[in-house]
Amino acid sequence: MKEINPFHAAINDPGGLAAGIKKRSGKILGYMCSYAPEELIHAAGFHPMRLFSSKSDICLAQNHLQAYCCSLVRGVLEDSLAGRLDYLEGMVFPHTCDSIQRLSDIWRLNTKFNFFADVVMPTKLNTKSARTYMTDVLKKFKTDLEKAAEHSITQNDLQNSISLFNRIRRDLSRIYELKSQFPSIIKGTDLFAIIKGSMIMDREELAQRLETIVLLLEKKDPPPYSGKRIILAGSICDMQDIYKLIEASGGSVVADDLCTGNRWFEGSMPENIDPIEALTARYADRAICPAKHSGNTTRGENLLALADTHKVDGVIFATLKFCDPHAFDYPYMKEFLEKSSIKNLHLELDDQQQGLGQLSTRLETFIHMI
């Protein structure tokens, strides 16, 4: 499908993409966590751009972060120090994990971008006071953005951004739905490109492209699928080859619980209430990241529900090495799955990892086993 080519182009050269956006529409704010309020950034007239590691060798970041820090955090710092992110106007750090929290300090002390904001969201999301606090934080961030943009963000600006992002969410959800219904309708690597591209491309352009893709997919008459249905669960999965390997082994990712996937786009924001309240509702109620809290078994239950809805044959956990929040959740989520007799496999990934030899053996064996 040629309509997907722009997505592949975007993810293969995010720097080039950013340069184009900067030229056309102005200033870019980077972020690394799906709790960054993109709608606010967009409403202020900035382009929200999610950062991934370019996976270059870690040299400069060695002077700031020890080897037991995850490859995402080290990789993005490396890119920044090496000047590969010079297109940024600035950076936004929502509260995430201990590592990103410290990255925020290191970034503030060692880089010279015009804009910098810590958006310290609550860790706890299931209480009234936490929601009030979140609203306060969002309001404060709005003020910071207004100062940087040198104009105020009107209710209307914010409403427009919210409805734009709702459109994007709706279409991404629809593509996921179709993928689950007809796994052969779209290749895993294409789906990966769409999702990753959606986090970096110009959002207006993106909304249109996604609409087109949904229309095209809905017209397709895909052959019936007889392979294995897989959920990919974990932190971020920035490895396109995993999708390829799964398909080569006779499986297909029909749903995910990833920060670069369902957790980022699922649900929609109410459009008929105060926009800041709408943002609060969305960020407090969305599928939760393990660095946040809303009950002790929420994530396990979510995963079971996902497995049930999508009638999956197996779950593949893909987590980044040295990612503490996910490493803590893995044993109980595995136990939850096993109690429901759902087969699972754990892959510990590293952005710097090259050889897929061992990975492909494990994936192939797992998929043949289920």
């Binding site: 020890q66 590592s99 300090d105 306060d136 393990p290």
Partner: protein, 413 residues
């Protein structure tokens, strides 16, 4: 007794015996809580213990337990057990050993007394949140989370009001858990004792500004247990009163903790619990005394935010603005301040695989210290409890080379 033995004996801190007795009584109380109709709460080391004391709930500290496991060299075995349970080797070794202990009733005391509730304050790390979720599932008991947003650059009004509101939620949580009304008068009294205890702890730590130093960070690591576990009680106040008197006496009678203090060092990060003896001997052999550390001083670093007469209201700020919950540049400022206060010749940093929020940013702190003071800095790679992350020979060489640099400086005493 030989002469050297006598001298060694003279150097011993007498209060250590008392401290062991107090800790034994404390753990016995906790172990027999159920028989005495008392409730037990597990709480994080940076958590607000005062309301528990006011409610007559016995606080138990898994982190203190982790330190004991480390010091008794049971860390490796329990870490391996946790790894068998599916917990990655890269996770905090306090968490790993504690989680494993619950499974096998292991550790130096055969496991901790079971909790009736869990109190988790994330001012020290995000790890405690995940760790306490694991325990909440395991014991199936209520979990209260005190969410203290990190103050990278400032302590904002929003944070203050969020944390203050949670203090009220905390009290309601406790009232429900033990089914009795919160006694505000008692809380005020506990608050005063907590304040006094921390003041005294600060006083004890400050005695090491004296040259030669009457105690070292290795002693502080040991004496820390009371200000953590029994903060807010008369027992802690009395004990630190006694300890500070003993330190004064040592200063008056010229008893130093190491025989020939020539160099004074500052330690950063948690102790390497299973190598305390070796490390302390190693530094002592170089005539170097670790006179202060950033870790044990964290239990009095928020004193400036506490209002002795309105403890409850000042708690939000005092518990949010602690050493680990601030920006790296502010942490560096505290280090610089300690370098001046204690007049140290070198800075020893423990890069602790178990503690990411303490260790990431250390390299920036190291550069700031180098730039602003010029004192030598060494980074030792280890882990607080898991000995598999420690290499004796490499650490040995690093310390020797670091001391070679310190010794060649003419300006050193």
């Amino acid at each position: 007794m030989t002469d050297t033995d006598k001298k060694k004996d003279k150097r011993k801190i007498r209060a250590a015996k008392k401290m062991r007795e107090i800790m034994t009584t404390y753990y016995l109380d906790a172990m027999t809580a159920r028989e005495n109709n008392k409730k037990v709460a597990w709480i994080t080391s940076g958590g607000p213990v005062e309301p528990l004391i006011a409610m007559d709930i016995i606080p138990v500290y898994p982190e203190n337990h982790g330190a004991m496991i480390g010091a008794s060299k049971m860390g490796e075995e329990l870490c391996i057990k946790a790894e068998e349970m599916g917990y990655s080797q890269d996770l905090c070794s306090y968490a790993r050993t504690d989680i494993a202990c619950c499974k096998v009733n292991g550790g130096p005391m055969g496991g901790l007394p079971q909790p009736d509730m869990l109190i988790c304050c994330n001012n020290i790390c995000g790890t405690v949140l995940k760790w306490y979720e694991v325990q909440a599932r395991h014991f199936n008991v209520p979990l209260f989370i005190l969410d203290t947003p990190i103050c990278h650059t400032d302590y904002s009004r929003e944070v203050e009001s969020y944390v203050r509101r949670q203090m009220d939620e905390y009290i309601i949580f406790l009232e429900t858990a033990v089914d009795k009304k919160f006694d505000h008068d008692k809380m005020a009294e506990v608050g005063r004792l907590a304040f006094q205890g921390q003041k005294l702890w600060q006083k004890v730590l400050k005695t090491t500004t004296h040259k030669p130093s009457p105690m070292s960070a290795f002693d502080a690591f040991f004496f820390l247990a009371l200000i953590v576990t029994l903060r807010g009680t008369q027992i802690a106040v009395d004990f630190y009163e006694e300890l500070s008197l003993e330190m004064e006496e040592r200063i008056q009678t010229d008893i130093s903790i190491i025989p020939h203090e020539k160099y004074r060092l500052l330690w950063d990060n948690l102790p390497v619990w299973y190598q305390l003896k070796w490390l302390s001997q190693k530094f002592s052999d170089h005539n170097a005394c670790l006179v202060a550390d950033t870790y044990t001083s964290a239990w009095c670093s928020a004193l400036k935010y506490i209002d002795e007469n309105n403890f409850l209201d000042s708690m939000a700020q005092a518990y949010t603005r602690i050493h680990l919950n601030i920006g790296v540049d502010q942490m560096a400022d505290q280090v610089l301040d300690m370098i001046r206060t204690y007049d140290v010749d070198g800075f020893v940093m423990h890069s602790n695989r178990s503690c990411k929020p303490y260790s990431f940013g250390q390299m920036d702190i190291m550069n700031i210290v180098r730039k602003k003071t010029g004192i030598p800095v060494v980074m030792l790679e280890a882990d607080m409890v898991d000995p598999r992350s420690f290499s004796l020979s490499q650490t040995d060489t690093r310390i020797d080379a670091f001391m070679e640099i310190i010794k060649q400086k003419e300006w050193v005493r």
